[in-house]
């Protein structure tokens, strides 16, 4: 999504914001499964990142990974504070959008509904990995930085999550 930035407050942060705002929201939404909460977390994550720009250390990973680490903490804090998980198993807006983006009609819609259901049935940790890999497009090294694990561990987790997702997609409903 194109975001207008006519008067950037900080060029580097502005670029980071423009490149990642939608991805951070998608990630938060996948974790929380609550649009309002995801918006709050997205805003809180960027505000924290803005105020903590000086704490970023390039030796410890990319700026993107640093931002998603902040977003993850904000999302988990939200989960802890609310003491509840997202109530929506399927986002109505996403469901409505799925049909319109199909390439060959009903078959694609059915397939994507199956994917959506499989995603909803995934373990939260696997769902998080799918969001980081598919929605945010992070590399395994960046995912490792976000989760605080080694790169090989992150790669293994991603591989397992995708394997489970594929199985869930092919499982009879």
């Amino acid at each position: 999504m194109e975001l207008s930035t006519t008067e950037p407050t900080n060029a580097r942060f502005d670029a980071l914001y423009r490149e990642n705002a939608s991805d951070v929201f998608a990630y938060a939404m996948t974790l929380l499964r609550d649009r309002a909460a995801a918006e709050d977390v997205t805003a809180a994550a960027f505000e924290r990142a803005y105020r903590r720009q000086a704490s970023y250390d390039a030796r410890r990973g990319t700026r993107r990974a640093w931002l998603f680490g902040i977003a993850r903490n904000a999302a988990l804090d939200e989960l802890r504070r609310r003491r509840r998980s997202a109530a929506l198993l399927v986002d109505p807006e996403d469901a409505s959008g799925a049909g319109s983006s199909g390439d060959d009609g009903g078959e694609a819609a059915v397939r994507r509904a199956a994917v959506r259901a499989a995603l909803a049935g995934l373990d939260p940790r696997d769902r998080e990995l799918v969001a980081l890999k598919f929605h945010a497009g992070l590399s395994n090294a960046e995912i490792a930085r976000v989760l605080g694990v080694s790169e090989s561990n992150a790669g293994t987790r991603v591989h397992r999550a995708v394997t489970r997702l594929r199985k869930a997609c092919h499982a009879p409903s």
Binding site: T42, L79, L119, V162, L165
Partner: protein, 394 residues
């Protein structure tokens, strides 16, 4: 937190390569995986444009007032900075202690001045009720007592000699003062003792000074008017480091009164003899009375001497001054606060500060370790709670 990186399983490596190929939309990617990627991406939640516009505005506003620069929390406000806040508070408290100690006991230049001042004040307060008045009045007192025949026999005839005036107390004071200058300054200190004694109106009753290249000593017996004793001691104490100062006082009012009474008796006897001489009629009586008058004159003279000696004991204090050239070079203060004194005081402050820093370090180091452990445990617990929250999510 990075864990140790282990080599990936070959099958996992292959699966990740295929996934990356599908994500990159490479032609050689696994068709099923590419389809999955497309379907998952299609299910990606999209943000509401209104929300993004609002967030965009917040970013432009710097998440605060327009134009506000990104603020960085003060280091001591960060979680890891709590330790430094505590340490800073402790150091500030220690600094206050250092300043207090330095101000309370560091001043070499004023040390003797303060010391002697306190001695003077305490001495003055202790003796104020019993010390003699001015030497002039004290010296005049026995004469008046001797000449005032109407004075009370039990009182030493103070000025005026009226019975409403309380008997004047007579106190003999003696002081022993030990000075410890550097060996090469013994002669200067000895000269100073004589000079200050004369300035106080006293005199040197006896003295002995012995100096050599590397040592020296002197001993003085001074007689200083009691009224000027405190001032004289203060000045003498400034000549060199005071090793010791001992003061004693003895009430000799009874001795003085007794001497005065004996003089009065002798005078009364003289009066009586003179009257008898006036009434004598024979040559023998006259000769006998004249002989007794002659004896009486001698006795009166002796009694006057006794009374004057007792009066001198009260009027002049005895001060014994021992000067031993054993003090360290540079201890001589000479009264004023010199650059040397300043250097000494600065060294003393650093000495005390260093000691306090060592003690503070011994106290703070374990506290710092505990604080670091507590912070690490707090961080770990927070991470654990967050991960638990994710596990509990649906």
């Amino acid at each position: 937190m990075r864990r140790r990186d282990l080599p990936l399983d070959p099958e996992v490596q292959r699966g990740l390569r295929e996934l990356d190929a599908a994500l990159a939309a490479e032609p050689a990617a696994d068709p099923d995986l590419a389809l999955l990627v497309a379907d998952v991406r299609a299910a990606r939640p999209e943000a509401d444009p209104a929300f993004l516009a609002a967030l965009d505005a917040k970013v432009h506003a710097g998440f605060a007032a327009p134009g506000a620069a990104p603020r960085r929390r003060a280091a001591w406000l960060r979680p890891g900075g709590v330790l430094f806040l505590g340490a800073g508070g402790s150091l500030a408290a220690l600094l206050v202690v250092v300043i207090a100690l330095a101000g309370g006991g560091g001043g070499t230049g004023g040390e003797h001045g303060r010391g002697s001042a306190s001695v003077s004040s305490s001495t003055a307060s202790a003796l104020s009720s019993e010390s003699a008045s001015s030497p002039e009045s004290a010296a005049a007192a026995p004469q008046q007592a001797a000449e005032d025949s109407s004075a009370s026999k039990s009182a030493p005839a103070p000025a005026g000699g009226t019975e409403t005036v309380a008997p004047q107390r007579r106190v003999e004071r003696s002081v022993s003062l030990a000075l410890t200058p550097p060996p090469d300054e013994v002669q200067d200190v000895a000269d100073g003792v004589v000079r200050e004694t004369q300035a106080a109106g006293g005199y040197v009753a006896s003295s002995s000074v012995a100096t050599s290249d590397d040592q020296g000593s002197a001993h003085f017996v001074l007689r200083i008017p009691s009224a000027h004793l405190d001032d004289a001691l203060a000045r003498l104490s400034k000549l060199a480091h005071v090793g010791s100062l001992t003061q004693a006082s003895q009430d000799i009012t009874a001795t003085f009164t007794s001497a005065a009474e004996r003089l009065a008796d002798a005078r009364a006897e003289r009066t009586s003899l003179l009257r008898a001489l006036g009434r004598a009629t024979t040559d023998r009586q006259i000769a006998t009375l004249k002989a007794r008058l002659a004896e009486n004159r001698s006795e009166i003279s002796r009694r006057k001497g006794d009374l004057a000696a007792v009066a001198r004991r009260a009027d002049l204090a005895t001060v014994q001054v021992d000067v031993q050239g054993t003090g360290r070079a540079g201890q001589h203060t000479g009264g004023g606060w010199t650059p040397g004194d300043a250097l000494h005081d600065a060294g003393r402050v650093l000495e005390v500060s260093g000691g306090i820093a060592v003690v503070a370090g011994a106290v703070l180091a374990p506290l710092a370790v505990l604080a670091a452990l507590a912070l690490a445990a707090r961080g770990a617990a927070r991470r654990r709670r967050r991960e638990t929250a994710l596990d509990q999510a649906i």
